[in-house]
Structures are given as structure tokens and as C-alpha cells.
Subunit: 408 residues, 2 copies
């Protein structure tokens, strides 16, 4: 069985955290200067590992193994949320790199081929998992033409040009090249820690539906517009959000979550009645039927407000992703490796977060593995995982990869 090098693994993780370091975390949104630098560093590290890496036309880094033997694809993402953590999701990329190195260093596994990818924009600054979707052919040139930065509105084309990627070809999946896809990630929740487990074996990734709600009223002076005749877009938004929070529990599954993470008032001045307001609502569940029930409930709420709100209420779907069930044979391989290295400290669990595996998994067998997040914190610069858990996770992941590649 291959043996990973814990020091090399942690060293690479600490080194790449220099690109966009923010307090104890990292600010490295896709195609930011720091993100682009980090991708060039990744390319260099992959070359040293004997891979043949490229940065493709959307910013995905993929390092291909020149070996011929049975082949697997290991990937994750090295872009981050704004002021996010140092391990989400670059840990999975460096795991892939370390697994490729460890397998190459072990005569028993040296013939096995591991390709390693850092998918562009998993955190969705330009769309939704645009890198992995591009790779499997469901993000077109026309989609790139349309894509704008979710906050700044910069066209993706401009950002790609600034990153030196204008006209660079995009990598696409070669049918039949891989036995399957593996992805490792920090849990981003507190379940492993609470249950005192060190390895999470992901049974399914939740589906996500996302909607933009816009409210159009009349912008006016906050001192001279009598309350009865106001069309305050901020009040309209707040009232609808209140209904969502009151009515969603009735259709919720045991693990469902729903969130408004973004809300904007225009023009956003204290002395002006807002003329326009916007919020983004998303909900997640591993059962698509639950997502459909949420959507139906939302439509019911929106229709009610469209009838009764003084403002114009619009609701646009931004995305719908199906939950993805993981490959059972892969899960067993991870489970067996976990049993060897972590004795009983492993458990099966769904992923509440979306991951590139749910995209790549549409085209080949896929599985994911989690390591614990301290305090369950993520999408924040204080996110962290114990070094021992990072190292243990990589060893389990390497064994599982070898098992899957050696199996018939």
C-alpha cells in the first residue's frame, strides 16, 4: 500500500495558502490575481510530480499522468469564498497531488495512473461550478460570453483575458479514460467532530435550488412620502422573506437547509425609500422531492405577494442541481481503508455542500471523502482541520485510490 508524505502534504498546503492569505484564511476568488498565481504554482508542483499539467481556457488546472495503466481522476478546487478558509477546497487538490506522488513512489502502485484537477470557480463567482461543468461539456462558449462576476458584474471574458487565458482551449472529458472520480474535502459542518469521527464517507451530495427575488417599488424621499402611499421595495422584500422563514419548516426534510445570504437595497441610502430590492434564496436537500416541495411553497408565497404587495415582485430560478448518489464500490474502498487507518472513527454521511463531484459524477462513478472541520466552521477565515486529521485523511484516500485502481 502506498505511503503518503505528511510533511510534503502539509508543506504544499501551507505554501499555497500564501496566495491571497487573509488573517488565518485565504481570499482567492476564481481569476483574482492571487488565484491565477496559485494556479501557476500548482502547474509547477504537478510537473515536479511527473504529471503533464495545463491551465485550460476557463482556468481549470489539470495534470495528466503519462502512464497507461488503469486511470482515475482526483479533483477539487483551489479557488475560495471571499475571506474563506485555507483548506476549502484546495486540500482535495493537494491530496490528489500527494496521492499521485505516493503511488508513483511505491513499486506496487507505480504503474497506476492518477490525473489531478483543480476545477475552476467551484465557489460560483462566475456561475456554478463552471470549471467541472465546462469539463463535461455543459458550459458552452456562449455561457462564458454571458457569464459575469456575481458581485462586480465584470464579464468573465475580460477576467479570462486579464488572466492570460484568452483563446486558450478548454479541456474536455475523454469518454472511457477513467475508472471514476474521487474528491476529498473538509466536512464544512460539525457532524464528524460531534460524533468523534475522523473520516466521513459521503453517500450523496445534496441538490441545490437557487432563486433571485426582485422587488420594484418607487424610490422617493424618506421624509416626504406618506406611509400609506409608499411602494418601499425593502419592506416588500422583508415581508416575503419573513413568510419564507415562517412557511418553509412545514415542507422541510430532517436535514433540509434554506438561506438568504445576499440582500441588496437600492439606492441604499438612509434617507431614501428603496425603489428596488433583491435577495437570493437557496435551499438544499439530498432528496429532490423535498426540493420540489420547497419550490412549490416558494411559488405559492411569491404568487401571494404578487397579488398583495404594493411592489412588483419577480422570482427567477438561478439554478437547480440534482442530488447525486455516490458509487457504492468506491464507498466500500474508502471504508476499508478508513477501517485500517482510523479503526472505528469513520462514518457514512450525506454532503450538505455542493461539490464538483456532483458534476463529474454525472459522467462516471464518483465518491467523496471528508475530514473533520474544527468547530464545524467553514466559508470563513477561521476554518481549520487538525494536521493529524489532514495527514490521516490523505493516507486513507491514497489507499482507497490504489484499491479502486487495482480492483477488477
Amino acid at each position: 500500500m502506498p505511503t503518503i508524505n505528511g510533511e510534503r502534504l502539509l508543506g504544499d498546503l501551507r505554501r499555497i495558502a500564501d496566495f491571497g492569505r487573509y488573517q488565518t484564511g485565504v481570499h482567492r476568488p476564481h481569476l483574482s490575481p492571487q488565484d491565477v498565481e496559485s494556479r501557476h504554482w500548482l502547474v509547477a508542483r504537478m510537473k515536479e510530480a511527473g504529471l503533464e499539467p495545463v491551465i485550460d481556457g476557463i482556468g481549470t488546472v489539470i495534470g495528466k499522468s503519462p502512464k497507461t495503466g488503469p486511470r482515475i481522476l482526483i479533483g477539487s478546487h483551489s479557488d475560495t469564498q471571499p475571506r474563506g478558509g485555507w483548506l476549502d477546497g484546495v486540500m482535495g487538490v493537494i491530496y490528489g497531488l500527494e496521492v499521485a506522488r505516493a503511488l508513483a513512489e511505491d513499486p506496487e502502485t507505480a504503474h497506476l495512473a492518477v490525473d489531478v484537477a483543480s476545477w475552476a470557480d467551484e465557489e460560483g463567482h462566475w456561475g456554478q461550478m463552471t470549471g467541472s461543468r465546462s469539463f463535461i461539456g455543459i458550459f458552452s462558449e456562449a455561457d462564458i460570453d454571458k457569464a459575469k462576476h456575481r458581485d462586480e458584474g465584470t464579464p468573465m471574458r475580460e477576467a479570462l483575458k486579464a488572466a492570460g487565458l484568452e483563446g486558450v482551449p478548454r479541456e474536455h472529458l475523454e469518454e472511457g479514460r477513467y475508472r471514476g472520480y474521487l474528491e476529498a474535502h473538509i466536512e464544512q459542518g460539525g457532524l464528524l467532530e460531534v460524533d468523534e469521527k475522523r473520516i466521513g464517507i459521503v453517500t450523496a451530495i445534496v441538490g441545490i435550488m437557487q432563486f433571485r427575488l426582485t422587488f420594484s417599488g418607487i424610490q422617493n424621499h424618506a421624509g416626504t412620502t406618506p406611509m400609506p402611499i409608499r411602494k418601499d421595495a425593502g419592506v416588500a422584500m422583508m415581508r416575503l422573506y419573513n413568510d419564507v422563514m415562517d412557511k418553509f419548516p412545514a415542507v422541510s426534510g430532517p436535514r433540509s437547509v434554506w438561506t438568504v445570504g445576499k440582500m441588496v437595497l437600492e439606492p441604499g441610502a438612509p434617507a431614501i425609500v428603496p425603489g428596488r430590492a433583491e435577495m437570493v434564496l437557496q435551499f438544499r436537500d439530498a432528496d429532490y422531492k423535498v426540493l420540489q416541495a420547497f419550490e412549490a411553497k416558494l411559488m405559492e408565497i411569491v404568487a401571494d405577494h404578487q397579488k398583495n404587495s404594493p411592489c412588483k415582485v419577480e422570482c427567477v430560478n438561478l439554478s437547480r442541481t440534482q442530488p447525486l448518489v455516490m458509487d457504492e464500490r468506491f464507498l466500500e474502498a474508502i471504508e476499508e481503508s478508513a477501517a485500517v487507518h482510523a479503526s472505528e472513527k469513520h462514518m457514512r454521511m450525506p454532503s450538505g455542500a455542493g461539490h464538483d463531484a456532483q458534476v463529474i459524477g454525472l459522467k462516471m462513478p464518483a465518491a467523496m471523502m471528508f475530514v473533520p472541520s474544527i468547530g464545524g466552521i467553514s466559508h470563513h477565515f477561521t476554518e481549520n482541520t487538525h494536521d493529524a486529521d489532514i495527514v490521516l485523511g490523505c493516507q486513507v484516500f491514497a489507499d482507497a485510490t490504489a484499491k479502486i485502481l487495482k480492483g477488477n
Copy 2:
């Protein structure tokens, strides 16, 4: 009686609208490059009118008359809200300029002294009516040191330096110099239009209380944090805002207004449970007792949420201004002039908006006059007033000024 020059008046108004023109309106926040340019243009126009103008150390433009005869101060502001209207409040400044010119051109009134001011920052980008407050001595050097741009956080000192005003002395009211203060403004509401009046005689200016509410929760991943253990600062804000909208009507006066014009979620990404949220709530009434009742109700709501919200709730008072009652003799002078030029088309009314008159009025007799806003629109680039109303208003204002200066 002096006769104003309508073409000259409208020409000046159209010319100054070039500084920061935005669609049919103007974007000219205090100390923006366009604002600074417009102040230099004003200085030149005041010189041509025989005044002795300066731009003082906070950005106020004041043009003093060299004449000795009884003296009045006419002022308003030439800064605007973001993407605001072309007349709010520069119309009152150009009225002052035109009145000074008209009085100087009429032998009967040529000896009367009119000083004209464009007060800095009436729209409160740096504080609250910082220009007029500076003029009467209630905005200190230390206040300037502390002042930051309400949206961008830029220190006022930096902006003053960029505007070339570093080290420039501030103008201060000379006790006894003036018989009083007059200010003209667009109504910014729809009452005059609805009642088919052309002149509004302002009996009082409402008082305003403003509070910042901040909500601190725990920022986390929107997919992996179970609903029961979330501390979502955005939900906490929305729930409190909802209570305000439900409970304020019970303590409202007939013309009270309350508004949340600014709301922020941090970090503001769709896939992140907000860790921090902030909103600014303001309420206005011409009766201070009503404002106190609103404040008491708000404190009650805040205390309730501090007890029951999963998030930390804080409430900070940003400002409290007293309502100001206008000088009756001045109101009568405006009323008599309106009767001559607008026959019955004038009415008395309170001002729901705050104005520099409520600051200057703390130190001397003051009065205000309104002209109608088309559709009652203001604080928006579509704000407008019929040319005929602009010209009529200035004539009424000139007569009233002459009356006040000639009276004993």
C-alpha cells in the same frame, strides 16, 4: 418691488446641472470632483453678482454682500443624493443668487444686503448637515477628524485635502449680522400638486431620529449548518425589521414616517450564512413627543430581540434633530408675496424633509418656501419642477426678501 430674471435663473440652474449630470438628474455627492467643480463655478457666478464669495474649510460656499444696509442670509445646498435630482437643493442656492441680483438691479432695493450660501453636505454623506452646523459652531475640528464617508468610509480630512481645502479656515456666524435666514426648496412630496398649489409656506421642519441596528451571529456554510443551530444575522435583522413595521403604527402621528433605507448582509454571498447584518432606521415627525414615543417603542422591540434572538443585537443612536418652528413674520411676508403673484395658489404646510434651515434657525429667525415637485418625486434623477413654477417661486421669494429687509 424687485423683478427677477427668469431666463438667467433657469440658465444658471441648467448650467450647474452639467456638474455630475446623471440621466435627467445629477450625481454630485459633497466633495466629489463634480461637487468641487460646481463650487468653483458658483464662486465665479457670485463674484459676477457683486458678492464676495469664499469656499470655506468644510466646503461651504458663502458669498457676502459688501453693502451695509439691513442684511439677510439666503441659503440651501448644491450637493446631491446619489443619482439625485437637478433641483434638490441647488435651486435654493440659485434663488439666493438671483434674489441678490434682482435686489441690486432695483434702485428701491439696491441698498439691501443679501448674503448667499451653499451649505456643505446637506445630504449627509459625511455626517449630518455638516456645513450649516459648522457655520453655527456645532461641528468642531474634532468632529471633522472623526467624520468618514457613510458608504465608502473615506476620512473627511482626506476628501477635504483632495478638494484643495486642507488648512482653509471655516466660516462662522457673526452674531447680529443678519435679520434672519431664508431657504427655498422643492417640496420633495406631492401635497402641493395634489392641492393644485404653486407655493408652499413651511410652518415647521420635522425632527429626525436615526439609529443603526447591528446583528452579530456566526458566519458559516449555507449547506452544512443545520437550521436549529444557526445564528443567521440576516434572519435576526429581518425579524426585528418586521416587528418595527408591525408595531410603529400604534405610536405614529398623522404625518409620521419611518424608513429603513440601508441594509447590509456580511459577507453577502448566496452560499454563506450571514455572520453580521446592519440596518439604519430613521423616523420623522414635526412633534418631538411623537419621536420620543417611536424611540421608546424601538427600545422595547430591541430589548425583546436582545432577549430572544440567537444573534447579538445592538442599537446605536446616530442622530436626533429637534423639529423647528418657523418665524411667523417671515411666513407672513412670503404669504403676502405669494398672494400677489400666485393669487390663491399657496398653502401652509410642514416640511417632512430635514433642511439646513433647521440648523441656522437655531441661531436666528428663519423661514422656508416650497415649490411643487412633479409627481412628488425626489431623491431620484427623475425629480423635476415646471419652469413656470421655478420662476414664479423665485419672484415670490425675491419680494418676500425685500419686504423682510425693508420692514422694521
